[in-house]
Symmetry: C2
Subunit: 150 residues, 2 copies
């Protein structure tokens, strides 16, 4: 093997593109095995705590009018429910049902088990990857909150 040459920033852009595509392909595959679309899987994964429709829209990166339909379909399948906020009757907080929580747990487990490369990284490599990702994609605000769904 010749000594590995460092990639140019343009090369790295391609690597990031492949990685992002691979991540979403994997996520969509896992969601699909549960009869869910990518957006439905993302939505469920965002609900570790109840959240208003508007907050969900922010984290999903789409308009609030879209969330109505996405939540409608998940609610029709019994995976979540709307609850009127007692302090502001305009707000509807979306909460996972027990069935929804079980689905999220299974999805999370399948996501991890499918990325064996992730579990095989040693402590130093995990730290390095975290540092590099944070430098390339610095958190910008609320829309960047921790989301397994991506």
């Amino acid at each position: 093997m010749p000594p590995t040459a460092p990639p140019t920033p343009a090369d790295l852009l391609d690597h990031l593109a492949r990685a992002a595509a691979a991540y979403y392909r994997h996520f969509a595959d896992v969601a699909s095995r549960h009869g869910l679309t990518l957006m439905q899987g993302k939505t469920l994964s965002l609900l570790s705590r109840p959240m208003p429709m508007r907050g969900l829209a922010g984290l999903l990166g789409c308009d609030t009018s879209n969330v109505t339909g996405i939540v409608d379909r998940l609610q029709a399948r019994g995976l979540l429910r709307r609850e009127v906020d007692p302090t502001d009757r305009r707000v509807k907080n979306v909460r996972l049902t027990g069935q929804g929580e079980q689905a999220v747990q299974r999805i999370r487990a399948e996501l991890m088990s499918g990325l064996t490369g992730l579990e095989h990284l040693d402590r130093e490599d995990r730290l390095a990857l975290q540092r590099l990702l944070t430098r390339v994609f610095p958190a910008t605000g609320a829309a960047e909150a921790p989301v397994t769904a991506g």
Copy 2:
């Protein structure tokens, strides 16, 4: 500052999710500034060389029937054209027009300039990021060909 603790694999999954989301948000923003959807931008970026509809479907990760519509809309805007393959008249090779090539160049430049963190990485960090991404998302085949679009 306390010494940084290494993230768990589960933590890293969240970081990857955020990075993937940030990449696509950025790509969609750039495409949108050119009046293109995410899929349209990805499609154009894939056409550094002419490619059959079927190959495009493979790289985009969708059914061939979808490609018909996506290519239709890009063709209607003069960004690419279909050419019947002289060696197999069933095949249609899709090729960027001059206008399409210009659009791709502008999109690529905006993609890079928006990721300043990428250009600020030194050689060692670029090599490390490439190595880590490759380990977590090993290339699996044709569908993993270099694609700036992701």
